[in-house]
Structures are given as C-alpha cells and as structure tokens.
C-alpha cells in the first residue's frame, strides 16, 4: 500500500480546543457514567484489579435498605475514583509487528493447535470449511475446560479444541503469567480469563487485540447479566466442573445477538450510546410523562429505547447507568421476540451497576405499531402490577401529546444523511461526547451502502480508534491517507471525532471541514443528544 501515508499532528491553532462542557453534546450532569470504558477496562486489566472493582455489588441492597432514608454515599464519586488514573492498555507482551508469521510465539503454538484438531477425526465440526472460514469465533469455557458456548457450531462437539485452549491458558498460568494473545498469520487468538470462566476470540477481522478483549469483556458481562456474579461464584465454588450450559438454556441467543451487534454497532467500540434523533420538545414530554406517572418507590431506572437507540432515561437520584449496562439492555430487547407479544417481568443483572443481584424489569412495547420498548427497572420483585399500571398511564399521556406518533415517525425515516451536514468531501463520521457517553453518526450511504463496504468502513474506524487509543503511543490527532479514503481522528478531553473523507482531500481542507462539522453538531445537539438528566 504505497499510496498510504499518515501524519500525526501536534494539535495546532486550527484545532481550537473547546472548553470542557462546551463541546457539542457535552454536559457535566449526564445520566450515564461517563468514564471512558475502553480505557477504564484497559486499566483494570493492567492493574489485575481486585474483584470489587470488577464486580461492583451491594448497590441493590443499598437501594432496598435506604427505603425512605436519605443521603446514601454518592455512587458517582465511587465510580469516578475508579475511572481516574492512568489509562493504559493491556500489557501485550510484544507489539504487533513482532507477532509476524515468523514470530516465535506463533511458531510454537500454531502447530499444537492444528495437531490436536487432526487427532479428532470424528469431531468433524472443526473440519467443515464453513466453520473454519468464519471470521470471528468466540468461545466461552469454564475454568475446568468445559464448553459453555461457541458462536459457531455446537459447543459440545468442540470439547477437544476447548480443552486445548484451557490447557494453553493453564500452562502459562502455572508460571505465574497470563496468556493474552497469539498471532498466527492473519488470525489473532485472544484470551480473557475471569473468575471461573475463560473467554477466547479467534479472529481474522480488523479488530485489534484490545478491541477483541473489550468484546470478550462484553460477552462476559452478558453471562453475568443472565446469572449474576454471585450465582456463578457460588456454583463453581461448590462444583468446580459444573456444566454451566444447564443454567444458560435459552440464553444462547443473547450471545449470538450481542456478537452480531458488536460487528457493526460502533457504540460498543466507543463505549457510548446512540440516541434517537428527536425534537427536544418531544423528548421532554416523554421524560415528563415518565416522571409523572412512574413516581414509585424503589423504581431505579425507566428506559425507553427503540432499534438500539435511546429515547429517554429517567433515573433515581444518585444512581447512574453505565453505557456498558445500557448496551446489554439494548441487546436483551433486540434479541427477545417474546417481549413483543406480552408484558414481561424479568430479572436482569446489570454488572456495572451491581453484579451481585438482579433488578426486576417490567418490559413492554408502547404499542403494537411502535418499535419503542419501555423498561421499568426496580429492586422490588413484587411490583409488576404497580408498574403495569404506571405503564398504561404513561402510554395514555404519550398518546394525548402525540408523542408515540412522533417517535414512530422518527423511527421510520432515515436518522439523518451526511448531505444534511453540507460539507463536501466528508463522507461519514462518528462523534462521541465524552462527558455524556453519547455518540452520533449519520446513516451509511453510497459508497458504503453494501454489506461488504460497510464492513470495510467499520474496519477502518476500528483501525483509527485503535491508533488513537494505542497504549504505547496514544494520539490526539491522526491524518491517514488511504487508497480509497482519507481518515481523520481527533481526541480531546471533551470529545472523540472520527471522520471519513474522499481520498483526495488535503489536510487544510479536512481540518476546515471538521471545524464546520463541530459547529453543525453544536447547532443540532438538542436533537442528537440527550442533554438533561431527569430524575424521579
């Protein structure tokens, strides 16, 4: 790729750094925990964090205990202290270039893997070309090496290969070390060990190793969301070789759908949430309706979502939601057909909120013809009928003010087109407001309208994101000229911007364009972002 070149810019005058809180979509009083999970996660990995950091627990009990009494310790403070500190990426033993095909690590391990595969002729699953040809495999196994989940193929037919994975990891663990990554040709084997569980990704996509680790961590959180950390811990302490699949029957769809979402949804990569663009007046009425009719003791969060976008979120004072938890909620709703037909009452664990217990969720769609789904999350398991009534009242008020119609309309049309931004040569962008953990980006249009082009552009974004957040050399600004397009990344304390231009754009034009873009986002911020944070 001789035509590619890159410049790393020192932030000059043309990059006027905006005052904090003043950047488009920025606010100090968000409702989402605004720590950058990507770096947060990396730091936790680095520090071999204590279980407490990784598994917050007790929040639910606190809410239950509080009942009417006031002044609990501020949850936000707690979280901020966790997220401060140096954000550095997981220690990879070597940098990428050292992991070439001739690298020692790859040489040693790759034959072992393939040899063991050949021994098991009867397990033909791994020989099928369609299985081998998958771009991203994900496996979950127990510490004892028992298969729990495989993204492709039946996990019980993969006992042998999972055994090899377990053996590799425990072999390295024996020498008081941990296995992070093996690179062999185009394939990355990435390992994430958690209490009692081992998660493995085998990928030949453009995801970087830290990004794959982040994805595995999401998968791990999905396990917690279904079972809670305390339950898993208890079970494996009693029986080391427990077959966890027994408890996960019917939950496979959550893993499948989560992995599919992560392959194209930038929200996971950015640790941010996309909001449904909506006139702020409508959004305010929606929030007001919820506040008015769901003022119920022990109700922690009321969340209205549609098509993996947030419409509004009302929270109990002093409690915040982490974007990673919200992503699990998106996944729960998009993976469950059964919510569409009936009002449901389901336990859900939000691992960043409290990994030790369940919240109880009243889940229902606003109306048969509207894709907006309302979730009312409480700590009281007997509140179904109370919440069911709240929901009817909320829906009634939303009808009265034509909000359901407005939401439906917002959902049927394109969110917005890049042409509305009016900047020639700017093809696409992703903008994340760091203080609110929200992001916005236009529809993918021509030339990115085909599945393969969309995959390619997402790969470019992953590359750009990886370069900007690299541990060894984090960047503030990157100008990357590729064969088919030019990329520009800009990270400040307030926002992250990733932009895609046509291939011939010059640096001054690109810089000029993104300054225009920031002005446009600022002008539209009321519609694109949720800027207030209503509480009960």
């Amino acid at each position: 790729m001789a035509s590619e070149n890159e410049t790393v810019e020192p932030p000059g005058d043309e990059f006027k750094t905006l005052d904090e809180g003043n950047e488009p979509g920025g606010r100090r009083d968000g409702f989402l925990v605004a720590s950058d999970s990507f770096e947060d996660f990396a730091r936790l990995e680095e520090a071999k964090s204590s279980i407490k950091d990784r598994h917050p627990s007790g929040t639910i009990n606190k809410i239950v205990r509080e009942g009417s009494c006031e002044d609990p310790p501020d949850k936000q403070d707690e979280i901020e202290s966790v997220s401060s500190g140096i954000a550095s990426m997981a220690t990879e033993e070597q940098n990428d270039s050292a992991f070439s095909d001739n690298g020692n690590v790859a040489e040693q391990v790759a034959p072992t893997l393939s040899a063991s595969i050949h021994e098991e002729e009867e397990l033909d699953e791994v020989h099928k070309p369609e299985w081998k040809g998958q771009k991203k495999h994900v496996f979950i196994l127990s510490e004892a090496g028992k298969p729990i989940y495989s993204r492709y193929g039946a996990e019980d037919k993969l006992v042998t290969i999972m055994g090899v994975m377990q053996a590799l990891v425990s072999f390295v663990q024996d020498s008081k070390d941990s296995m992070r990554c093996i690179i062999s040709g185009k394939h990355k084997f990435v390992f994430l060990t958690r209490d009692h569980l081992l998660l493995v990704a085998v990928s030949c996509t453009s995801s970087s190793t830290p990004q794959l680790l982040l994805q595995l961590n999401y998968v791990y959180n999905q396990v917690l969301s279904v079972l809670t950390y305390s339950h898993i811990n208890k079970i494996f302490k009693q029986r080391h070789n427990y077959d966890l699949r027994r408890l996960l029957t019917g939950a496979e769809k959550f893993f499948d759908s989560l992995l599919n979402l992560m392959d194209h949804e930038p929200g996971f990569l950015l640790s941010a949430v996309r909001c449904l663009p909506l006139p702020s007046a409508v959004r305010d009425v929606v929030a007001q309706s919820i506040v008015q009719h769901a003022k119920v003791k022990d109700l922690v969060f009321a969340i209205l979502i549609a098509n993996n976008q947030l419409i509004t979120l009302v929270r109990m004072k002093k409690y915040f939601l982490h974007p990673a938890d919200l992503h699990l909620i998106f996944n729960l709703v998009s993976a469950s057909e059964s919510f569409k037909t009936a009002e449901s009452w389901t336990p859900i664990c939000l691992p960043k909120f409290d990994s030790g217990g369940y919240l109880h969720a009243h889940v229902s769609y606003l109306d048969d013809n509207c894709a907006a789904c309302l979730l009312l999350l409480t700590v009281d398991r007997d509140m179904f009928f109370t919440l069911s009534e709240c929901k009817s009242k909320i829906v009634e008020r939303l009808h009265r003010y034509n909000c359901i119609e407005a939401i439906r309309e917002a959902l049927t049309k394109y969110t917005y087109s890049i042409s509305q931004v009016g900047i020639p040569d700017l093809r696409h962008f992703m903008y994340k407001s760091r203080s609110t953990a929200q992001f916005t980006s236009p529809e993918l249009e021509s030339p990115y309208h085909t599945a393969s082009e969309q995959e390619r552009i997402f790969g470019l974004y992953q590359y750009l994101h990886h370069r900007m957040h690299s541990t060894s050399r984090p960047l503030k600004i990157l100008f990357h000229v590729g064969s088919y397009e030019t990329l520009l990344g800009w990270v400040t304390s307030g926002f992250e911007l990733y932009a895609v231009f046509g291939p011939l754009v010059t640096k001054p034009t690109a810089i000029n364009s993104i300054n225009k873009l920031l002005k446009w986002i600022k002008k539209e911020e009321d519609r694109l972002f949720i800027l207030n944070s209503p509480t009960f």
Binding site: T249, E252, P347, F384, E389
Partner: protein
C-alpha cells in the same frame, strides 16, 4: 390490559421447551407459531423471565378475568420461581408427552407448589398431543401413569395440543369453573364487596405478613 383487575391468577410451570408459551398463545390469542421452536438447536423463542396476559372467561353465571403467567422453564429461574407462582389459585404444570424427563420436572414443580403454595390447585397438562397422535411411538409419558400420579396429589390430567387447539379452552374453562365453585373464593368475593375480586392484592398482603 387492566392487569390489576384480575380475579384469578393462573401460572404455568414446567421444563423448558415444554410448550408453555404455545399453550398460552393458543389460549390468549388463538394462534400457533408454525415453526416448532423446541426443535431448534438454538432456541430463539425461549421465554425470558415471565410473560403476563389476561383474558376474560365466561363460565355461564359470571365472567372472570384470568391473569395468566407464562414462566420461563430454564433452571436458572428456579430460585426466583416463587415470584411468579406466589398467590396463584391454579397452576398448570406442563410436560411434553414426547419427553420422559419433562415429567420428572413436572414432579419437581408439583412438590414445590405443595410445599409453598397451599391454596393453589394443580392441573397436570401433557402438551404436544398432536405429535403422539400422528406417531404413537413418540409417546414417552404413559397416560395411566400420569392419572395415577394425579390421584395421589389430588390433581387432574389434561392432554392438549396447542397446534390443533385440542383441550386448551376446555382446560382454562375448567380452571375458572373450579375456582368459582369453591365456596372459599366466593365468600371472599362477597366479603370484599367489590365489583371484582382482587386476589393478587389480597395474597400480597398475606405474604407480606408471614415473610
């Protein structure tokens, strides 16, 4: 649906893929999803938590509103199952006529109910009858064995097919009639002097006191 104006709580329990959701779908909406979900390797239709639906049933002299709880069969919900069957006046314990192990799970649920929920009448319900009619060899749960067991626990047996609708409406009507003919339930209705019964509230209070 006026969820709080429910006269009688009915809960469905049983092993996963045992056909509970299909039964409820047939009863509440008179429909059947052609794709038999239990034959999928990866079950994409498994119920999450529990789903609630209500339906009015006319039993001649009056109309009762049944609140039907369709619970998830997965073992992980076992510890929480009391949330769903607490205060139920009738439990439909489902088992798959083509799966012997599902009847073992049914026994488990019966024991659970008898231990924790005295006021709950039990109805054993064999599902997927259409399969055993079309091929007798697929039957794994013997009818007489189930009736013997039912006698022992003072329950009754219904064999149903959600695909054809066989025995479904009959089952729910029977449940409603049994409820209405129980003098205890009628007495409560008179005592409360309300237009409709609110048994859920009633039971909630009762359980609130004894923990």
């Amino acid at each position: 649906m006026g969820a709080s104006r429910v006269d009688m709580k009915v809960v469905l329990l049983g092993k996963e893929y045992g056909g509970k959701t299909s039964l409820v779908e047939r009863y509440l909406h008179d429909r059947f999803a052609g794709d038999t979900p239990y034959q999928n390797v990866r079950n994409y239709n498994a119920t999450i938590g529990a789903a609630f639906g209500a339906k009015k049933v006319d039993i001649g002299d009056k109309v009762l509103t049944l609140g039907v709880w369709d619970t998830a069969g997965s073992e992980r919900y076992e510890a929480m199952s009391r949330i769903y069957y607490r205060g139920a006046k009738a439990a439909i314990v489902c088992y798959d006529l083509t799966d012997r192990t599902s009847f073992e799970r049914a026994r488990f649920w019966v024991n659970e109910l008898m231990k924790n929920e005295e006021g709950c009448k039990i109805y054993l319900c064999g599902t997927k009858k259409d399969l055993v009619i079309s091929d007798k060899r697929t039957r794994e749960v013997d009818y007489h064995m189930t009736t013997d067991y039912a006698e022992e626990i003072h329950a009754e047996v219904h064999e149903t097919s959600s695909k054809t609708g066989e025995n479904i409406f009959e089952l729910f009507t029977k449940i409603a009639k049994d409820f209405a003919s129980n003098p205890e339930n009628i007495k409560k209705e008179r005592d409360k002097d309300k237009e409709t019964l609110d048994l859920y509230e009633d039971n909630k209070k009762k359980f609130g006191c004894c923990g």
